[in-house]
């Protein structure tokens, strides 16, 4: 279901989508069961003249079994959910698989800085490549990230990777992801960070091997036009565009005309 809206571009995106599906099936079953009984009871036992309600205390075993047995089933389903969830969680957040590459992500009010480790795969060496609001990744490599913040809390969120992690000032938080699809994805700040929270986005570009190397070389020469700017540049007319959308929409137009 998530995939319908957002493509899944990392190795663990599928796991999360599957977990979502499992939980949807379980709670969907319960929801429709309970809701069906609820509606049935409301219709079946509506007031009729001359029919007196039953007197049921709900304290006897013959009566309580109607709430207890489903309740045991709930426990069983809970165990399933917890078990699958913990498996996925341990894989995503609790363990760090061996890395192929490294990137440092620094949030600040209100932009993202990225320090790519460069060919040697180590940070704080001369071959590091720093960019702003533009993260470049190589497809199929396991990345570790070091997440930091310079001022307030931020959140490093890439929906296509199914990835979210808070950046906390004063701490370095590490984690991993492995892009599996080339393309450009949104990076959003998903933790309230003040006035400019609504503009604190960045672009994540997943390259093939050659394209990645070419881009890195371009950035180091300084001849690279920031992908983020390019992308946002085409969208600068967006505010007027969406307001245009609003006016075309007949219902919204009706609304607007009321006021």
């Amino acid at each position: 279901m998530i995939e319908y809206y957002v493509q899944s571009a990392s190795s663990f995106a599928g796991d999360i989508d599957n977990l979502f599906l499992v939980i949807t099936l379980i709670i969907g079953f319960w929801f429709f069961l309970v809701f069906g009984i609820f509606v049935y009871l409301m219709v079946r036992y509506r007031r009729k003249d001359g029919v007196k309600a039953k007197y049921i205390t709900g304290e006897k075993h013959s009566e309580t079994k109607w709430t207890h047995y489903p309740h045991y089933a709930v426990v069983a389903f809970d165990v399933v959910i917890i078990a699958i969830n913990i498996l996925v969680w341990v894989d995503i957040k609790q363990t760090l698989p061996p890395r192929d590459n490294l990137v440092r992500v620094i949030g600040q009010q209100w932009s993202w800085s990225f320090i790519h480790a460069g060919p040697d795969g180590e940070l704080d060496t001369p071959d590091d490549v720093a960019t702003v609001n533009d993260l470049h990744l190589k497809v199929g490599e396991t990345y570790h990230y070091e997440l930091q913040s310079r001022d307030v809390l931020h959140n490093f969120a890439v929906p296509a990777f199914r990835l979210r992690q808070d950046a906390v000032p004063g701490r370095t938080i590490s984690g991993w992801f492995k892009p599996t699809k080339t393309g450009t994805f949104d990076l959003q700040c998903a933790e309230m960070c003040g006035y400019g929270h609504g503009i604190m986005g960045a672009a994540v570009t997943v390259h093939s091997e050659e394209s990645f190397n070419a881009t890195m070389a371009q950035i180091q020469k300084g001849s690279y036009e920031s992908h983020y700017q390019k992308r946002m540049g085409t969208k600068t007319d967006l505010p007027s565009k969406t307001s245009h959308i609003g006016k075309e929409d007949s219902f919204a137009a009706l609304l607007a005309s009321i006021f």
Binding site: K93, Q94, L96, R104, I106, D124, Q148, R150, V168, G170, R171, T172, I173, S174, G175
Partner: protein, 109 residues
């Protein structure tokens, strides 16, 4: 207001409290940290128990008040131990506290 109960000897309790105070002040002079911990906090607990039981008449109070106070302390314990793994360490699973660790101060720019 007054259920009739024997009063504890308030002055005697006070003497005990003063003795305990003297021990807790003298404790650190031995300069054994482990012992200081016991004389400082162990005695604070004994003192508070003495005051609560005798002066606050908890001795004669209904069980429900005990329950209330113990529950309060238990919940504080829950809070403490739930929070401790994040605040009390310089290094956790997948994170490093830059300030206490001092290792990544330069990186913090």
């Amino acid at each position: 207001m007054s259920e009739t109960h024997e009063h504890p000897n308030y002055v005697k309790i006070w003497y005990w409290l003063l003795v305990l105070l003297a021990i807790s002040v003298a404790g650190p002079m031995l300069e054994v940290p482990a012992l200081t911990l016991i004389t400082a906090f162990g005695i604070a607990i004994i003192k508070s128990f003495l005051v609560a039981a005798n002066y606050m008449h908890l001795k004669f109070e209904k069980k429900i008040i005990w329950l209330l106070l113990i529950l309060a302390l238990c919940l504080l314990g829950v809070f403490f131990f739930g929070t401790a793994p994040d605040i009390m360490m310089t290094e956790g699973d997948q994170w490093i506290d830059c300030i206490a660790d001092k290792s990544c101060i330069e990186q913090r720019l």
